[in-house]
Symmetry: C2
Subunit: 175 residues, 2 copies
């Protein structure tokens, strides 16, 4: 190996090592962390299992799904409160429209189905040490994969106080 | 071993063998097959991934989730039509109620959340050979784990004709 080739090889290996250091083990970049709680978009959350479904009226006006990682699903099914560390709950939401094909089949407006993502994607992450100041919960809100600003995140735990008796989680498991 | 103990052991082993013969390999009984299409309740469907969410008005009046087995999810995400053999799509539904904790937090009626299962659980199963007479789809409807009668199953494919352009599937994938 010439000295040039050897030097280039050394640089290449160093860059590869640096990239490996900066990138999570999965190979996917973690993306920008949300303010206050420092949560990045959890990888693969769209593949998580279903906790429940809901409909929001008022300004939110959406159809939504609550998904959970394995720790969350196990805790919901075992009715375990407080939720154990490692629990992550995801809230997805979509605008919706009347399904024309269903209206044709039933002869009346009947089905309203999810269409486009709406109102961002939200997460609750349980870490009783890290988030001790907010009763063990960290919160994150992303719009199109980008974290919302600090002001949005300041409101999360105050609002979830209303569900304090269920460890600050609004939704229940839908069997 | 006495003759009595030996005889009891033989009976026990025979019963265990019979139980193994009558029970699917998974250890879970398959349950009663739905009429016409002969579909049993798919094991573990509640753990399947989410396709979409919807709301039905009129007599059905529910919040619902559409889940899919791995073949279904892959096909939806790849926009593959017609769906490949092995696709199974599940429709779950629940009644719903106003969430008191959310109303307290927002100061107005805001969130409607799933509560109890309602309107049974339905499945579409793709098998282009077995269900050739109904464009490759078999249908099943279960109430509390028991299949509905033949009359219910006679209506399925006729109604799904309205979604013929999407291979008879009403719902679309919610990203």
């Amino acid at each position: 190996m010439t000295r040039l080739a050897s030097a280039l090889a050394t640089i290449f290996i160093s860059l590869a090592g640096l990239a490996a250091y900066l990138t999570p083990a999965s190979g996917e970049p973690a993306g920008e962390a949300a303010p206050i709680f420092g949560i990045t978009l959890p990888e693969g959350y769209r593949d998580w299992r279903l906790i429940s479904v809901a409909h929001e009226e008022g300004k939110l006006n959406d159809l939504r799904a609550i998904l959970g990682n394995d720790t969350a699903i196990d805790a919901f099914r075992a009715d375990q409160r407080p939720f154990p560390d490692g629990t992550i709950i995801a809230r997805l939401a979509w605008d919706y429209e009347k399904l024309a094909e269903s209206e044709a089949a039933f002869g009346q407006a009947q089905s309203y189905v999810a269409v486009h993502p709406k109102n961002g994607v939200q997460f609750m992450v349980k870490d009783s040490q890290k988030y001790a100041a907010t009763d063990g919960w960290g919160y994150a809100h992303f719009n199109d994969g980008k974290p919302a600003d600090a002001k949005v995140h300041e409101t999360c735990h105050a609002c979830h106080q209303a569900a304090k008796s269920r460890d600050f989680v609004f939704n229940r498991y839908a069997p």
